[in-house]
Symmetry: C2
Subunit: 133 residues, 2 copies
Amino acid sequence: MSEINVEISNAEFEVLNALWQAYPASANDIIERLNNEKEWHEKTVKTLLSRLVKKQAISFEKEQRRYLYFPLLERETYTQSESHSLIERMFSGRISPLIAGFAKNKHLKKDDIDELKQIISSWEQENKGAKHD
Amino acid sequence: MSEINVEISNAEFEVLNALWQAYPASANDIIERLNNEKEWHEKTVKTLLSRLVKKQAISFEKEQRRYLYFPLLERETYTQSESHSLIERMFSGRISPLIAGFAKNKHLKKDDIDELKQIISSWEQENKGAKHD
DNA sequence: CAATTAAGATTACAAATGTAATTCTTGTTA
DNA sequence: TAACAAGAATTACATTTGTAATCTTAATTG
């Protein structure tokens, strides 16, 4: 639905990520969640929330004096779009070079391999006998 | 060797990417390569080259009046680092959600699947009998 | 040799970003 | 009710980024 055109900056992403954890959430909720990771001033977080609202990545509804924020941009939509674009730019759209790099750098663990196998199985199920694409 | 600390911006990356295609290369070489893709003014490209030099992502040696640029930052080093960091941020370090997203969005083709299988085989060869990590 | 080019160096300038501080408002408390 | 406190809104300000234009210098040409 809501096609996000604008860029989400790194700092904004951290805030959005904290909101995705659970929402609706007040500014203070977000600030608390981020305090475990970052050392951001509360004013900073509020600025970032405002910018995310302006970019239409999130919205809010008033609950008394405070706002309860919620994402307009879904996490999966965003992460898929970002990873697709990175793979396009870095690897001309192929995923295997990325995975191969992970393998080479020892970032692939047994669990990852198992999950990959699972994905492959599912893909083969859905594409059984098809020779398209 | 050369640990790159600074961020490479999007526009800078395009230039670096063009340089990776073949180097050493003069500013004009890069400008020509980019003209097929982007519609950048030559001054813009030169600015980006300068910034990449300042960031120590590339360097050059003089050949008469002109410079011949070459990367200090290797493509693979950079792409692996970028993809690792994206996966860390977006998927808490796991690769399978990324691949699953690709599968769901029909971005996985037969060739990709074959390559993934190949990677898995190699991994299993190298990790035969080992129960570490 | 003087004028013109063509490289790179320096400067420009608005928008985005990181990181807050200050101001405005309104519910709450003495 | 008057002062305060806690949210949000507005303003701030240096740095980075996108996108060039101008300046300087050295090679080339008439």
